[in-house]
Point group: C2
Chain length 348, copies 2
């Protein structure tokens, strides 16, 4: 079985961690019957600064023919904020209509959490990924004057909200999870989030699963106080952005936060949650585990559950034996962590 | 010196904690030259359910003649979310144009933080309080149909953004703080938050203070990883809502989170950050410290710095001696905590 993967290493540490993810995937070719064909794309800040191109439409069309996209990170201090984000990352999410951003928050070892007395955290966030405040709609009036007004639109549709909520319930059911929690702010966002509450109530009727609800502010607190009380969480785009970073932090930081941008009907895109981290780029201290775990998610999504689990087990072992980078209190280099994961793969 | 205070206990535990705040303020009349005239208003869920009235315009007009408003909490499961929030709490913030929501995040005792190895947290959040996603603008199209669209507008104005950023810098300067951090999401909210970044850059030029910047997702992480690295933080309304609840949690929870809704040119409103907590209302276990600390903020704001400090010291002592409610691992009742604070007031 040959899988075709489009690879976009991107900028800064994106390149460094994707290299380790690929190393791990290549090792799998030896250990199982899977094989990969990787095609690398140069998109990112360098490419933009040289050519003025972010992510061309032809590339999006090409990506659709792959089994998956494996993405590193983009961002560079020389480029104005928003250009690469909207031109590359959000463009993939939107143009490929990847309406689910799946972000597990899983504590692999008690020493990794900054929280006192917690040792079991296992949440899966289903973040809406194609509308809300990320729609990109808005504008200025009287820009640059004392009378300036700047407007950003949070746009939600029944279509968009329903499919992501339904995905959350399906996911919970399929993975044997018990509860789906909705996080919104309907007490203030009485239009956009009223829709979320109505659709959630409706869809939940079709499932034999527990449900729960928090306003986003209360959720931020509850994730610190009792993260063990959550199972599957579904939430709008912007809140998902904030809560999943918070989630990453309570299980060890961005260094191990993986994500999948998916739509069951098209090519998915898998990426570490972290950015390009220009401050540590090139120092070979970037944590490759988030990229490696994203590769694991990619395989799970491609129905290679066994291989996906192998990678996850190898990562767990690397963490247990402290074969990790400085951000996780280890003293290894990026490529050494990758090497260890490869080594542990041989024995799982 | 006589201060006229409008008091709105509101619903649920709002009533219980405001009673303790008033007890403490009354004690001050014995200990210093200040005296109070309290006028109580019935607004809240009960009143709404009985009369259909949330907060009438005449009350807003009346409030303007007071020195301050002391507010408990509103909210009741029998009332649809949004009605009391928008009809009472947000109405006060908006109609009195209380553009600053000042929320200190201060660790009074190391045992109160859920974070490992942290013992110094002292942040002051300056949350914009009269625009952004809270503007209440938006609407539905084809409501209730599969084609429904729900829109919520994030509206920022140069006027509104500038005054709150300026307040943050003035506050930092006046209180001897060193750094002002801006938190936004300009890489995605390229209109509304581009305005924030431009204004922040401009206003910061006028001050000899350090500045810093985080995107909101990174901020949520950093508040867990190194809360000690923040000083004054200024942020839009919605992000302020989330981050200050998170902030409350890392210093002991909503039970001690106080806030002031202010505009230097008009009557301010002081309230605990917590809600009406219907689940524990009437059980006499609500933590009154947030309400008591809000009373302390109110006095500071009314230039009674000495009296304000006394209250804060008495609260610190109550915490140090574990004279607290169950949420803080104590075993006292609401009124007992109030009594202890009163007792400690006599000796500070
Ligand atoms: C880089 C940025 C546009 C992006 C987002 O806000 O979605 C990132 O924070 C993420 O969570 O993937
Ligand atoms: C009750 C709600 C409208 C309010 C808000 O969102 O501002 C509350 O959460 C707060 O922070 O004071």
């Amino acid at each position: 079985m040959k899988l075709r993967i489009a690879v976009i290493p991107g900028d800064g540490i994106g390149k460094e961690v994707v290299a380790e993810g690929l190393k791990v995937l290549k090792k799998l070719e030896e250990l199982s019957r899977v094989s990969f064909e990787f095609k690398e794309y140069p998109f990112g800040a360098e490419h933009y600064l040289k050519t003025g191109e972010t992510l061309p439409d032809w590339a999006i069309e090409e990506f659709k023919k792959f089994d998956a996209i494996y993405f590193g990170a983009i961002g560079d201090p020389r480029v104005k904020p928003g250009i690469l984000e909207r031109g590359i990352l959000l463009k993939m999410r939107f143009e490929l209509d990847l309406y689910v951003n799946l972000r597990p928050v899983k504590l692999y070892h008690p020493r990794l959490t900054p929280l006192k007395g917690k040792n079991k955290i296992d949440i899966v966030f289903v973040r809406e990924n194609t509308e809300g405040l990320y729609a990109g709609a808005g504008g200025f009036l009287r820009k640059g004057t004392p009378q300036e007004i700047a407007v950003q639109e949070m746009i939600n549709t029944r279509f968009g909200v329903e499919r992501v909520i339904r995905f959350a319930f399906e996911y919970a059911k399929r993975s044997g999870r018990k509860k789906v929690t909705l996080v919104d702010k309907a007490n203030v966002l009485t239009y956009a989030h009223d829709l979320w509450e109505r659709v959630f109530a409706e869809v939940s009727q079709e499932y034999d699963l527990e449900t729960d609800h928090y306003y986003v502010d209360a959720m931020a607190m509850k994730m610190i106080r009792s993260p063990e009380s959550f199972d599957v969480v579904v939430t709008p785009n912007m809140f998902g952005d904030i809560l999943t970073d918070l989630g990453a932090e309570i299980v060890g930081g961005l260094g191990i936060a993986a994500s999948g941008n998916i739509n069951p009907e098209t090519t998915g895109m898998f990426e570490p949650v972290h950015g390009s981290a220009p401050d540590i780029a090139g120092k070979r201290i970037a944590n490759p585990l988030a990229a490696i775990l994203s590769a694991s998610m990619m395989l799970e999504y491609l129905n290679l559950e066994k291989e996906s689990k192998w990678i996850e087990e190898a990562v767990k072992r690397a963490i247990a034996e402290n074969k990790v980078t400085p951000d996780m209190n280890g003293n290894l280099k990026t490529y050494e962590v990758g090497d260890w994961v490869v080594k542990f793969l041989e024995v799982v």
